[in-house]
């Protein structure tokens, strides 16, 4: 049994070379963020009137949301479908979702032209707009995620809140809040868990609906009325592989409980989920007759082939073999391919497929866009590290197991 996989604060040393590298990335990004708020979007990005959406929408927002899907898929698996054996994967997945959506929101603040108006959709509703629906879902889901996260904080700090310096006056109120929230949430958490899954299904598919309004600008390899369904299916399929990839990365820098057996079993679900996505995606491609574009030799056709062959078909075949599933490295590689495939899909849909009729040049992200994106990713990883250090999220290797 995996009962000994018990989440605990890792208490690992903070200042490692990796952390310094993260800080360097963040500092570089801050430089360009200052430039963005002094010279405008035009000063740091390659965005234009023809290409109004770039790397930040493709990676930070679309890919960020997709790769945070481990949060709702694992919550559904464990809390709704009652597969409690997988309990230990829910906390890191939840943390990834919390951080993923937080950074999606931050990236949006930087990307939108009038950053301080980010709250407008909450007040000015426009029910016909797909983006309005996505925005409202993301805002609500972000709050749901934070609420789902409270019990983890309470578990660690309830009854022992010691804020530093003058903040100490807040010790009692914070403690009281944690206790109160913990007690209430214990009874009503099911509402938030289900709401989280529903909201995720809504905006994961909603992101796919965004480009349906521009049929003449999106390459036929990707433009399909079922784009929202494909976005939802790929988000569901990438949830568990993302958990496996994260576990692999976390295990590389922390002494963690070996959960490869559990993850191998989890990946069996992925065979079905990814297979279903593949069947629907290819079925749709041939049903629309868009497969004729596959061998055009253009950037678009190549990007589509890489996305499907390397990002879906190859890892699906790998996962079919039980030898690969039970090998740590094999499972990691297969999962990483799936994660890469879904990320490439989002980039393809939002950037590669986008062909404005009167564009003179094509879009390629600027140094500033790339640096800000990597800065956000580095900041996310850094906060992840801090939180697993102080909160019971990952399961450290227990002494007995280590010595045996």
């Amino acid at each position: 049994m995996n009962a000994h996989a018990q989440p605990a604060a890792l208490r690992a040393p903070f200042w490692t070379p990796g952390v310094l590298v993260m800080f360097a990335f963040i500092a570089a990004a801050l430089f360009f963020i200052v430039a963005r708020y002094t010279g405008g979007l035009g000063a740091v990005t390659n965005l234009s009137d023809a290409y109004p959406w770039g790397l930040w929408i493709g990676i930070d927002v679309a890919t960020g949301v997709a790769l945070a899907a481990g949060g709702f898929t694992s919550a559904a698996l464990v809390h709704i479908f009652g597969r409690h054996a997988y309990e230990s994967v829910t906390r890191p997945a939840l943390l990834t979702a919390v951080l993923g959506y937080t950074f999606v929101s931050l990236a949006l603040v930087v990307d939108i032209g009038r950053s301080w108006t980010i709250w407008h959709p909450i007040v000015y509703h426009q029910g016909n707009s797909v983006l309005f629906e996505v925005a409202m879902c993301v805002v609500t889901y972000l709050h749901v995620l934070y609420i789902e996260f409270i019990p983890i904080v309470a578990e660690q700090y309830r009854g022992r809140v010691h804020l530093p310096g003058p903040l100490a006056v807040l010790n009692r109120p914070v403690d009281a809040f944690l206790g109160f929230a913990d007690r209430i949430l214990d009874k009503v958490m099911w509402v938030f868990i289900i709401a989280g899954v529903v909201l995720s299904c809504m905006h994961q598919s909603g992101l796919g609906s965004l480009l349906l309004i521009a049929p003449t600008k999106v390459h036929p390899l990707w433009y399909t009325p079922i784009l929202p369904l494909l976005f939802l299916m790929s988000a569901i399929a990438v949830g568990f592989p993302m958990i496996i990839v994260e576990n692999g990365l976390a295990s590389a820098s922390f002494e963690l409980q070996d959960e490869s057996g559990l993850l191998a079993r989890l990946s069996r679900v992925t065979i079905f989920l990814l297979g279903a996505y593949l069947v629907v995606k290819l079925g749709d491609l041939f049903a629309r007759g868009a497969h004729v574009h596959l061998w055009e030799g253009t950037t678009q056709s190549k990007a589509f082939l890489v996305e499907v062959v390397l990002g879906v078909i190859a890892p699906w075949c790998l996962l079919l073999s039980s030898r690969i599933r039970s090998s740590r490295r094999g499972l990691f590689i297969a999962s990483a391919l799936i994660v890469g495939g879904v990320a490439l899909n989002r980039v393809n849909v939002f950037l590669v497929s986008f062909q404005p009729p009167y564009a003179e040049t094509s879009y390629f992200p600027s140094i500033g866009e790339i640096v800000i994106t990597t800065g956000f990713i580095a900041a996310l990883m850094l906060v992840y590290r801090v939180l697993v250090t102080y909160l019971p999220i990952l399961s450290p290797k227990s002494r007995e197991v280590a010595s045996s």
Partner: protein, 308 residues
């Protein structure tokens, strides 16, 4: 020095355009009725004088251009609208020649098409873009968040952005002179100034009749296609041409309005939030069922767990 020169032309431009603009106020006949207005562009009449560009620049108080509106050499290269140019005239050679064998160019005025069912209005998450009753697609900067989804969605690639403004950038496009003129019963600046009546202002239904009549009266001069009558569900600005629109760089566009598909999906799933509520109920039911089982999971799972 250069600036002074430019400023001179600007002032001169305003002076030249003003009487023309005043004249067309009368032409509109005061109050506009509650109808949806548009403009008929007759490409067979346009002479490429760029007076419409100049009038637009003056009425909209846009920054003076780098090259004077009298400079017809700018027609050498096809241009697009930008954040301080709401309309441009381009010259296209289609191979048509006159009786002396000289090429006859076609001049094409571009601006916001003021669609009947605009993609940008449907896309905007905060309702900063709206379609007014008189036909103008109107932008309200104070609501705008700067997501630029309108620009992504526009099939004509019209809205432009003030990318150089760090804090208060605006989406920029032809306003149909909504605030400057239409609201007061005056007709848009570019239309009134046209010296050859290539631009005709009026209720859209009437413009379509006018267009059909012109084609009927002179079938040799026109092709049988009113661009904008059916494209993307219809546009406020309509075009008549003597050569195929494909050859002039006009896109072949579907007759279905762009917002149709996404709006059908959105309203299909989210009217009264029925789909999310059903999903919530279904998941709640599943949760209740599984919770009844032993907390250790199903026997199968315990067996699975023992494998590791």
């Amino acid at each position: 020095m250069n600036l002074n020169r430019r400023e001179f032309f600007r002032v001169a431009g305003i002076a030249a355009a003003t009487p023309l603009l005043e004249r067309c106020v009368e032409a509109a006949g005061g109050e506009l009725s509650g109808e949806s207005y548009g403009c008929l562009v007759d490409l067979t009449r346009c002479i490429g004088c760029r007076k419409c560009e100049q009038a637009c620049n003056v009425v909209q108080r846009l920054p003076a251009p780098e090259r004077s509106f009298d400079d017809l050499l700018v027609l050498e290269k096809p241009r697009r609208m930008d954040s301080h140019t709401f309309t441009v005239v381009n010259r296209v050679h289609t191979g048509v020649v006159d009786e002396h064998g000289r090429p006859v160019p076609t001049y094409i005025k571009l601006q916001c098409m003021h669609c009947l069912d605009p993609a940008c209005v449907s896309a905007c998450p905060v309702g900063a873009l709206t379609r007014k009753e008189n036909g103008a697609v109107h932008y309200n900067a104070s609501r705008c968040i700067g997501c630029r989804y309108c620009m992504v969605s526009c099939p004509f690639q019209v809205p432009c952005y003030e990318y150089q403004d760090p804090l208060t950038p605006r989406v920029r496009k032809c306003t149909f002179c909504f605030e400057q003129r239409l609201a007061e019963g005056k007709i848009p600046g570019c239309i009134g100034v046209c010296p050859v009546e290539a631009l005709t202002f009026g209720p859209r239904s009437q413009l379509l009749e006018t267009a059909r009549k012109r084609i009927q009266d002179d079938p040799g001069r026109y092709i049988q296609h009113i661009y904008g009558e059916k494209e993307v569900g219809g546009t406020g600005w309509l075009y008549l041409s003597g050569v195929s629109f494909d050859r002039l760089g006009f896109q072949k566009l579907p007759e279905r309005p762009m917002p149709k598909l996404p709006e059908t999906i959105q309203h299909g799933l989210y009217s009264y939030l029925w789909a999310p509520i059903v999903l919530f109920g279904a998941l709640g039911g599943v949760m209740k069922l599984t919770a009844r089982k032993a907390p250790g999971g199903t026997p199968e799972e315990r067996e699975e767990g023992a494998e590791s």
